[in-house]
Each structure stands twice: as C-alpha cells, then as structure tokens.
Amino acid sequence: MTILYDEAQLSIASESRRVLDAQYDLERLLDLVDVTGQYDERIWQTAVEQGWTALSVPEQYGGLGLGLIEMGLIAVSLGAVTAGAPFLTGNDAFVQLLLAGIDEAAREAWLPRIAAGEAIGVAALGEGTSPLPPVPAVTFSNGKLSGAKAAVAGALQADAGIVWASSGGSPVLALVELDDTMRRTVDSFDNARLYAALAFDGAPAKVLLEGDAARAAARHALARMAVVSAHEQTGGAQQAMVIARDYALERKAFGQPIAAFQSIKHRIAEIYGLVELARANCIDAAASEGKADFVLKACAVRLTASEAYDTAARDAVQIHGGIGVTWQLGLHLHMRRARSLSAELGSPLFWEDLLVSELEGVGA
C-alpha cells in the first residue's frame, strides 16, 4: 500500500462526494436529531446502490474486496455531509470480525447479505467508559450471552452483532442475532447515530474466536473502526472549515469581510493545519493495515482527527457569531457529530494510553 491515492481511489473520493452532495437534505438531518430510531434511509439506499456495503466484503462472498483506503474515502464523504446513516463503521467491523473468525457458515450466511445491503451488522465491544474492556463483563456460557453493552452506534437498526464477552476467564467474540428485546434506546444529542445499549439475557450466540485470537481480532477491529471513523471525522472537519471560510469571506463587520481580521483568519489557518494532519494520518493509517504498527497508527489518527473535528466544529460555530447558534442553520450538526464520534469509540484518554503502550511495545 502506498500513501498516494491511485486514480481509482481518487474517483471513489470524488464520486461518493458528488452523490452525497446531490442528496444532501438539511431539513431531513435536522428532523433526525430529536427523534430516536430514525435514520436517513435514502442515504443508506444510496450507499447500497453505490456498492459501499460491498466494499470490504471479499469477492467470494459477493463483495468488491477493496481495502481500508477505499472504505476511508467513502467515510470522508459521509463525514462531510454529517450523514444520517450510521452503519458504515459497524458494518465494516462486523465483516472484519467474521473474516477473522473460524465460522465459515456464518460468513456464508451473513457476508452476501451485508454486501447486498440486506442486513446490517455491528461490533459490540465497549462497556461503560472503555471501548474494549480487558475483561468484558458480558459473559458467554452454554451458547448464551448475558450482560449489557454500552451505547453502540447503529445498533437500533442492526440485524446482528459480534460481541466481546468473557467465557470462563477467557475472552470470546460471539455472533448474535439482535431482536428488539435486546435493544435499549439511548436518547442522544445525535439520534441519527441510532444508539442502543444491548442487554443480553441468555441470548443464543455462536463463538467466532476465543482466547488470544479473539483478543487480537477485537483489537484489530477496534483499530479499524477508529481509522474509518477518523476518516469520517476528517471529512466533517474539512467541511466545517470550508463553511467557516466561506462565511468569513462573505460576512462583513466594520466595513470589511470578517476574514480580514486575524483572529478569524489565523483561526481558520490553524484549523487547516489540524485537518491536514488528520488527513495525512488517515492515509498513513489506512496504508498501514496488515503491518505491525497498525494499532499505533490508528491511535495517532484517532487523536488528530478527533482534535481536528472538535476544533473545526467549535470554531466554525464561533466564527459565525449569532447565526451559528441557530437551529435552522444546522451548523450544530457538525458540533454534535464531532462529539458523538469522539465519545462513541472511547475518549482521547483511552487512545493516548493505547498509543503509548504501543510505543512501549506493551499493547492494550
């Protein structure tokens, strides 16, 4: 893998953005903020039609067999439009974990449906404040799962999940079909993320991996989710920056565009720096999959992309002044999404610790 995008990749980037821009509907997105259980079905339909659900599924299971770089480029475009369909990251992690697992039947059952957009999967790894607890409190025994998982994005509408659980002192990854009794809606400040806590009360499940293999696969899946999510954050950050820049050029105060005031001008330049660092780390991390330092690179991009999106969203609102804090302008969608993407995969503190552990050669 190289950190230069090739022609095909560049066309994925521009084409996905074009398709999404054409369907951008601010009113619809604003409607999704307040209600639980709804998402932007048209965008997801587009994702299916465009083959994005098939992207990372191997060809033998009806997919396109493309890699993390391509997945990331789609995520950048989805991030830019604060897409109201939260399945990309979870679906991809579900696919990765199935591929890592030992259960060929499960792959054959699920991967073609995922690729075709007929089913949606999630990875339910986190509990409480940790996106990957060393010893999960959810237990697996006698083919059944018990216990609760923290808010999982997309889980309100997903068909199946792969769950990080403990089985007699050893970790497992277990595949479970989700039904409504297991989902507890989390009413959030960003409801288009479709958050649900998952509560298992003896739900039947199949073990895909156990022990060290499960731990390695879960770590990899978490890192991969972080990288996909970082692309989404970077897309959002870039878009918030562009919105802020355009407004600063157009809005006048004291007889000149506010962009001529260095407090505004330099702030946008600083955001540019954060966005470009995030983008550079995105490319680097995506190209590192399969290498020994993939988790390390995932930590690096997670941190820079979170910082970029937080700063861009916060400052874009501030640069807009009063109009920036109105409901109708919708700039708060970036602010909400920056926060939800940051909180849902573990705090910066978790990722800082993991990064240093990786540098120390300890691992999580």
């Binding site: 009413d187 006048k252 004291f254 009063g322 804090v325 109105t326 926060r339 573990g346 503190l349």
Partner: protein, 401 residues
C-alpha cells in the same frame, strides 16, 4: 442598611421556601407557556417578599439597598433554577434606561412596578442581521413623520420579544452622517401596529431569540429616549449599566465539585478517572481559574463597598469562564463514553454535561463574542490600537454593503 450577611441569610431562607413551587423539579416537563406563567407568579411573590427591587428606591416598592445586596440575592437565586430568566434583560437594561432617560415619571413608576412584579416584560432591540458585534452598523430606519416618527426594518436576536410588552429600540435617523452619529433611541409598544416578533430556535432547541419586523410603525416624539442622533450613547449606557452584575466563575456550567463527582464515578484503564493525571490537571487548572475569577469578583465587591471603582479585570470573567467550560464539558462527555451520549432535554446546564456543552456556544456569543471582548480588553485596558475599520468616518449611506 441591613448588613450583607444577614441579608444573604434572609434571602436564602426565603428562597428555600420557594423551592417546592418554583424550583427546578417543579419546572420539569411543563410547557413553555406554563413555565412563563410560573415565572410571573414567582416574580410577584418575590416583589411581595421585598426581594423584587432590592437596590431600587422605595417609591418603586424597592428597599434602597446596595448593588451588592442585589448581587448576593441573584447569586443565591441562580443556584436554584427558578423561572426568573424571562425577566433578566427586562429589569437589567430597559427598565434602568427608562428610569434614567424618560421624563414622564408617573408612567415610568407604573412600568417599573409592573416589570418587577413580572406583569410586564421589556425587550431590547439592538442587533440586526447586518450587525451583531458592529452595533453602529445597524440599518433600521427611523424617519420623521409629522410630529412623530416612522420605523421600518428588521431586528434580530431580540431575546424574549415574543413575550414582551415593551421594547427599547435603536434606529438610524440620519444615514448621511458617519455611522455612530446617525442613531436615535426610542421605547416602543411591542403589541403596536406593524410590529411582528417571530421567535426561532437555537441549537439546543431553546426558544428565546426573535426576528422582529417593523412595518411603518408609528411613534410619537415622546417615545424618543435621549436626543436625536444620540442613540449610540444611550445604547452604550445601557450596555454599561449591568457591567457589574453577578458573574459566575463556573461560567454558568457545572461546578468543579460536580466534575470531580463525574470523574470519581468513571473508570479509566481500571482505575477511577479522578486518579489520572490528565483529569487531575483539568480539575486543578479549572479550580485555579475559578478561584482567580472569584477573587477578582470579591475584590470588586469590596472596592464598591468602600466606594472605590473596581478594576477593569472584571471584564475577564465571561470570556475565560465560558470558554474553559466548553472544553471541560467536552472532556466530561468523552470520559463518560457510552453514557455521555445520552441527552435529557429537561436537564439544567449547571447539572448536566450535555446540557452545559450545548449551551456554551450561545454563551460565547451572547453579551459580546470572545473576539469582541479581547478587542475591548486590548483597546480599553491596554491601550492597543483599534482594528482597521474602513467604515470609520464615512457617511453611513456611502459604506459599501
């Protein structure tokens, strides 16, 4: 005059008795209309109890106490989440302005008492689409009309206009002179012909602000406040009146103790988050900031009590406290992970991290954007030059739009 500590104790005692009827819990889940009605009842009770016009003269039903007494009461009241927010601007700026500038004193007395009792609400119509930070850039037209005036144009960001009975407005009475010089101030009847207030939602769905449209609104010259062309001065006086209102070192968000509770409850890598250096740093830095702001405020109070003019450092409070609250709220939400994502629409911004975080952006704009506050500090306190302003000294109607 009753000493401050006795007064504070009296206030606390009275406020405590009001909690069941007006406190945060009583307000949960009720409609906006019911909440406003509750607020009016609270203001009436407050007036009745002698806490309505603490620092006003007895002719207004006030007690003639010092501004410090009022600030002491307000600080205590703020912690309880009473429905008094509808009346803050009304009593804070327009009422003092009409008391200072209007000549018909009987009419003024009626208005003041009605406002103190919560029966009438005033709003302040300054900002416009073309100028929030740039007050003097406003475009609302005031034209001579017989013996009176005629208003046409639009205001924006007017808090509580949709529930207001009266308003103070600044308009451009002469577009041919430089922008600071062509403004005139009036009071208006918000129920009058041609005035239309359209409330809109902020990013947290709160409905406070309005667009207000003026369509040939007629005023008598008796509604004028201050001289023709003197509107900028009146507006500035308004903005200065409440310079020493009760600040909040917590930036109107949760306390440090609340953050410590959050951090005690959270696990971080197998230990309570409060044991982590980063969290301890956030606690320590925020404590030190707030301690400094409290010390600045206490010193200002002591100086005012001693008849001295407090220092300009009081202007730091909102800038520093609100900005730092934003990052602390983000950290708290992230720290809570899955739990941090949940949102309770009825939560109070001093007791909930998501509510706090959602309310910060408005706080960083309202009452002066960070950038304007920095300019003010730089120019007024440190003597640094004004920014380049191409519109300076140019007749208003020759400034390019």
């Amino acid at each position: 005059m009753i000493d401050l500590e006795t007064f504070r104790a009296d206030a606390q005692a009275w406020l405590a008795t009001m909690v069941p009827e007006f406190g945060r819990d009583a307000r949960r889940g009720i409609s906006d209309e019911a909440d406003l009605a509750l607020g009016r009842r609270y203001m009436a009770a407050k007036y009745e109890a002698g806490f309505g016009g603490i620092h006003m003269a007895e002719e207004f039903g006030g007690r003639g106490l010092s501004g410090l007494h009022k600030i002491a009461f307000d600080s205590e009241e703020m912690e309880l989440g009473f429905p008094s927010g509808y009346f803050g601007i009304s009593l804070g700026m327009p009422i003092p302005i009409i008391m200072k500038f209007c000549e018909d004193k009987a009419w003024v007395r009626e208005r003041v008492i009605a406002a103190l009792k919560g029966e009438e609400i005033w709003c302040q119509l300054f900002s416009e689409p073309a100028g929030g930070s740039d007050l003097a850039g406003l475009r609302m037209k005031a034209e001579q009309d017989g013996n009176g005036w005629k208003l046409n144009g639009q205001k924006l960001w007017t808090s509580h206009a949709h529930i207001a009975d009266y308003g103070i407005i600044v308009a451009r009475s002469d577009p041919t002179v430089p922008k600071h010089k062509g403004l005139t101030c009036f009071w208006i009847d918000m129920h009058g012909e041609g005035v239309t207030a359209k409330p809109f939602e902020l990013l947290d769905r709160e409905v406070v602000c309005n667009e207000v449209f003026f369509d040939d609104v007629k005023l008598t010259d008796g509604q004028r406040i201050g001289p023709v062309g003197g509107g900028f001065g009146v507006a500035m006086a308004t903005l200065m009146i409440e310079r020493y209102v009760a600040g909040d070192a917590d930036g109107f968000g949760p306390t440090i103790e609340f953050f410590m509770d959050t951090a005690r409850d959270m696990d971080l890598g197998g230990r309570p988050a409060i044991e982590d250096g980063r969290i301890r740093s956030a606690i320590a830095r925020n404590f030190a900031l707030r301690n400094g702001l409290k010390s600045i405020r206490d010193r200002a109070f002591l100086m005012m009590e001693a008849g001295m003019e407090p220092g300009p450092e009081g202007s730091l409070s909102k800038l520093l406290s609100v900005r730092s609250r934003q990052k602390l709220s983000e950290l708290a939400i992230d720290l809570k992970g899955g739990d941090g994502l949940a949102y309770d629409r009825d939560a109070f911004s001093k007791e909930d991290w998501v509510a706090s975080w959602l309310s910060v952006p408005t706080g960083r704009i309202a009452g002066g954007a960070d950038e304007m506050l920095l300019n003010t500090i730089a120019e007024r306190i440190l003597g640094l030059p004004q920014d380049h302003r191409p519109d300076k000294g140019v007749p208003f109607n020759q400034i390019p739009a």
